[in-house]
């Protein structure tokens, strides 16, 4: 029997607002002592009331605009009632019926399956988004033994931190698609600047829903629809904090569920976690005990009505989005699709590229792209850093290129200097001096050529006899004399003159 995976993603993004969602406590709690970022509101003390942070609402609406969402004019908050010790009020302020954005889609690109035959290659797909809603984060429970007593500790620093939950339709069919979707969403969110989406710090959390359906069920579905008939069960994978783990967890689930289905059984409706040590998912909570969240409109927060003018203004403030930038880079700079994809993968990188092109008077976008992709991006990937973490200015790269053009340094030393610029805070002139990378003077070069000619009479004779292949050898001999500090072009020109 052949099964098709049916995957949907719920992605939680912690918005990067200064204050929490419903109070003025700092939302920047990472690494802070427990319960130091709290007040009556986020502790859910008696009498405390929420007041919504308007920046956070704007962030949700910006995402709505970026993913082609609808329903931007009216919205409201609801209470989601459930009990958990980390939930200060006994309910979470969330959105049920009228989220800040409904519908929309995110375009992804994935390798088509191996059996796609003629269609093989990278293919783009629109993944439908169900909704994007705001909700407040909860506190955190930790279990510890203190003075020999087992205790549970609650830290409310995270309580009330704004979360944007983006729910996709169950329309993905492979772990690659799921990963591409999550990465694309991360890219969009970073572009519009509403969250750092830092998976390690927990500011982006992925919860895939995975189930399998028989392929025969797919054929019943009318053409063009991705949804199809949904399986009778669904497994939720909770709080996964890396793209790789999400992919691995989905793949594990596909195998696990296939085995169960092959036995003629149905996998249980449940929530499972990912064990990154054992590389497998494990059962956390059975859905038999499903909550009835008893949603109702949050009476402490009046509903929102926005004007068309307000939304239009917000739209006008939207930055260029990844796909738009990609297209523009291709048109404007005549770069390959591959170069454009890499350059626009990260907003900082794209901006670095464009600024360098501007700063470097001669333009030459392809050359700059090569430098950024070949030298900078490689280095960033190797060291697992982001460009924003470096103290590197586009003007510096432009200066470096200019120095090479002028023959003041060689391309080889330029690359070395660039690498040192990435890893240290030193400027170009300092580095040139330190490395002795400056090309040698014309006199010194003339000396070196003289010497090389003198030391290699045979080669010179062969060249003069018309054997042009030895020219390269002679250039090498000159460079040997200069210890590589001569501009290769100047060497070639002068040597040619000398040998005339």
């Amino acid at each position: 029997m052949k099964y098709e995976p049916v995957i949907g993603l719920e992605i939680h993004i912690e918005l990067s607002s200064k204050s929490k969602m419903f109070c003025s406590c700092s939302a920047d709690y990472f690494g802070a002592d427990p319960n130091t970022h709290t007040c009556p509101v986020c502790l859910g003390l008696p009498g405390a009331l929420p007041v919504a942070n308007t920046i956070v609402i704007e962030s949700a609406q910006k995402l709505g605009l970026a993913i082609h969402g609808e329903n931007l004019l009216s919205s409201k908050f609801d209470r989601k009632n459930y009990f958990y010790p980390d939930l200060a009020k006994g309910f979470q302020i969330s959105q049920y019926q009228e989220p800040f954005s409904l519908g929309g889609w995110i375009e992804i690109e994935v390798e088509s399956p191996a059996d796609a035959g003629a269609l093989a290659g990278r293919q783009s797909r629109k993944i439908e988004v169900t909704r994007a809603h705001l909700e407040e984060d909860t506190g955190k429970v930790a279990h510890a033994t203190i003075n020999g007593r087992k205790v549970s500790l609650i830290d409310f620093n995270r309580s009330g931190v704004p979360l944007l939950e983006i729910v996709s339709e169950p329309v993905m069919h492979s772990s690659e698609e799921a990963k591409a979707y999550a990465q694309k969403l991360q890219q969009i969110v970073r572009y519009i600047g509403i969250s750092a989406c830092d998976m390690e710090k927990g500011s982006m959390r992925i919860e895939p829903n995975v189930s399998l359906r028989k392929v025969s069920n797919v054929s019943k579905v009318s053409k063009g629809s991705n949804v199809g008939e949904l399986p009778a069960y669904k497994v939720e994978l909770k709080n996964i904090n890396s793209f790789r783990f999400a992919q691995k967890a989905i793949e594990y689930e596909i195998l696990r569920q296939t085995e169960i289905l092959e036995k003629g059984e149905t996998p249980a409706l449940e929530t499972r976690g990912w064990d990154e040590v054992k590389n497998r998912t494990f059962s956390q909570r059975s859905k038999e005990m499903a909550h009835d969240y008893r949603y109702f409109p949050e009476p402490d927060l009046p509903p929102y009505l926005f004007t068309e003018d307000y939304i239009a203004k917000l739209k006008s403030q939207m930055p260029e989005l990844p796909n738009e930038k990609f297209k523009r880079f291709k048109d404007q700079y005549q770069l390959s699709k591959y170069d454009c994809l890499l350059l626009t993968s990260d907003l900082d990188l794209a901006e670095f590229f464009e600024s360098t092109v501007k700063a470097y008077e001669k333009g030459e976008p392809k050359r700059i792209a090569n430098w950024i992709i070949g030298e900078l991006l490689r280095r960033l990937n190797e060291t697992q850093t982001r460009l924003a973490d470096l103290n590197l200015l586009p003007a510096s790269l432009a200066e470096l290129l200019l120095l090479t053009d002028e023959g003041k340094i060689t391309t080889v030393s330029a690359k070395e200097i660039f690498e040192k610029m990435i890893t240290s805070n030193k400027n170009i002139q300092e580095l040139i001096k330190e490395m002795g990378a400056e090309t040698i003077s014309a006199d010194k070069l003339a000396e070196a050529i003289d010497l090389a000619v003198k030391l290699n009479p045979d080669a010179v004779a062969q060249y003069k006899a018309g054997k042009e292949q030895v020219f390269g050898f002679l250039v090498g001999q000159v460079q040997r004399q200069t210890q590589g500090k001569a501009d290769p072009k100047a060497v070639a020109d002068l040597l040619k003159q000398k040998l005339k």
């Binding site: 003390l45 008696p46 209470r79 009835d292 008893r294 009476p299 402490d300 009046p302």
Partner: protein
């Protein structure tokens, strides 16, 4: 008393001035005229509160130390010739669901028996800024659930006019303390009549302001979309003075209104000439004939003062109690969820039976599969009820209606019949569902028991309600009828 301005002279002539039997306006003039010290006043009220509390159980906590410190501050400021708020030095009772920083706040429930808040409710801090003096925290039905005071986990409060009867509820202690001169004003909350009904039962003036006029921040929530924060006073003028201090936008409460503030005492004596006052027929059909007579007599008085009395209909009135007892418990069930005993307070087993009843009711009506039939339907009816009021106000300036279908009832009479107790709210809950303001004033007495009536107006017309109330009060001077204790 010929002139209103001669309180100081009158006071000087008294041999043993009774410091207890005063209004805010009178005390304000005495303090401003340096005729009395705020500390003497506070001591007198603290003494009386301590003494009478043994009998009436109006206070859960009496905070003598704090009251004296606040009063001393007033005296210091007066010695420094500072101009103070009309509320400076006024002994207040605060309903025990108003959070007071450092002073135990129980919501009259054993769950919060030892709970000491870390911040003040906005209303409390506004009163503090006005240099009011807090005598203590008044008793009430636990979590403000009730119409008799009998649901308090700290024992029921007695009605000073007849100690065999209830003072009404839920603001039972505020009403009793004020009627018995254990304070000069008291705060209250009104979710379905909790200020108005006890005001009516204790011959007091009670304001349920427009929803959004007074901040709810720091008030232990009962049903958030219905809760209003108001106060009880002896006179209409006093009520206006307090609203001048408590009303207004609060950045901590997103439901407070930016509606412009006015001086509520300004023009309070304008009278009712030319005003159209509507009598909603649904509030009189089936009403106890004695109560009806008192209110009809009152309307005649208002008519004689120049008001025009008009019959009017609020057709959805009869659905009020049913609607209210869906929406209110739904919100209660959610608002009480935080009292899980994990971080503060006692465990959930400490909830009394009325709170449990409402938690269960509300949990049921919000459950999936029932939500549409109950909560959603109730919200639709609520809208119709509000529209009734809005429509009526296109025809009349305000409405006049009874507050309670009965006189103050005997202690224990309804305690085992929750449904009967809920019906005591029949004339008050619709006003909360509609969100409009209502002012209760003394209407008269029947066999020594007070009868109140309410004047209901469009959103944010508290000023006009005060004008109507003041006209009737000046004519009848009923507030001078004090209980014999």
């Amino acid at each position: 008393m010929k002139s209103k301005g001669n309180i100081c002279a009158r006071f000087r002539r008294m041999k043993n001035p009774n410091l207890s039997d005063l209004t805010i306006k009178e005390v304000g003039e005495l303090i401003a005229g340096k005729q009395i010290k705020a500390t003497d006043l506070a001591k007198a009220y603290l003494d009386r509160a301590e003494k009478l509390n043994r009998k009436l159980n109006a206070y859960i906590t009496i905070c003598g130390e704090m009251a004296l410190a606040q009063a001393e501050k007033v005296d210091d400021l007066m010695a420094d010739n500072q101009k103070l708020s009309p509320l400076a030095g006024i002994p207040f009772g605060l309903k025990d669901n108003f959070l007071t920083n450092g002073i135990r706040t129980t919501a009259a429930s054993k769950v919060l028996e030892d709970y000491i808040p870390v911040y003040d409710a906005t209303t409390v801090s506004r009163l503090k800024d006005a240099n009011a003096v807090f005598i203590g925290k008044t008793n009430h039905d636990a979590w403000a659930h009730g119409a008799s005071g009998e649901n308090s986990d700290f024992g029921n409060t007695l009605n000073p006019y007849d100690t065999g009867r209830v003072p009404g509820g839920s603001s039972s202690g505020s009403a009793a303390a004020l009627a018995a001169d254990m304070c000069i004003a008291a705060t209250g909350t009104d979710t379905g009549g909790s200020i108005r009904q006890p005001s009516g039962f204790c011959n007091l003036v009670g304001l349920k302001p427009t929803y959004g006029r007074v901040s709810r921040y720091g008030i232990i929530a009962m049903a958030s979309s219905l809760d209003t924060v108001g106060h009880l006073t002896k006179t209409v003028y006093d009520s206006a003075l307090i609203l001048n201090t408590t009303a207004g936008l609060d950045e901590m409460d997103a439901t407070t209104s930016p509606e412009a503030l006015v001086d509520y005492t300004d023009g309070i004596e304008s009278g009712v000439r030319g005003l159209k006052i509507g009598l909603p027929k649904e509030y009189f059909a089936g009403l106890n004939p004695d109560i009806k007579k008192v209110i009809m007599d009152a309307t005649k008085k208002l008519e004689s003062l120049g008001a025009q009395i008009v019959d009017i209909s609020l057709p959805h009135t009869e659905y009020g109690v049913a609607t209210y007892y869906i929406i209110q418990p739904s919100e209660v069930s959610s608002n009480l969820a935080r009292y899980d005993g994990i971080r503060f307070g006692n465990p959930r087993t400490a909830f009394g039976s009325e709170a449990k009843r409402r938690i269960i009711l509300g949990t049921f009506t919000l459950s999936s599969g029932y939500y549409d039939a109950y909560y959603l339907k109730a919200m639709k009816v609520r809208r119709l009820i509000r529209e009734d009021f809005i429509k009526s106000f296109t025809k009349v300036d305000c409405l006049l209606a009874p507050v309670s279908p009965t006189l103050p009832f005997k202690i224990g009479e309804k305690v085992n019949d929750p449904l009967q107790m809920y019906l005591a709210d029949a004339y008050t809950v619709n006003i909360n569902l509609a969100g409009v303001p209502s002012l209760v004033i003394p209407a008269g007495f029947i066999d020594g028991l007070p009868v109140g009536m309410q004047i209901i107006g469009p959103d944010f017309t508290e000023k006009q309600l005060y004008q109507v109330g003041y006209a009737y009060e000046q004519e009848t001077q009923l507030y001078k009828e004090r209980p014999k204790l």
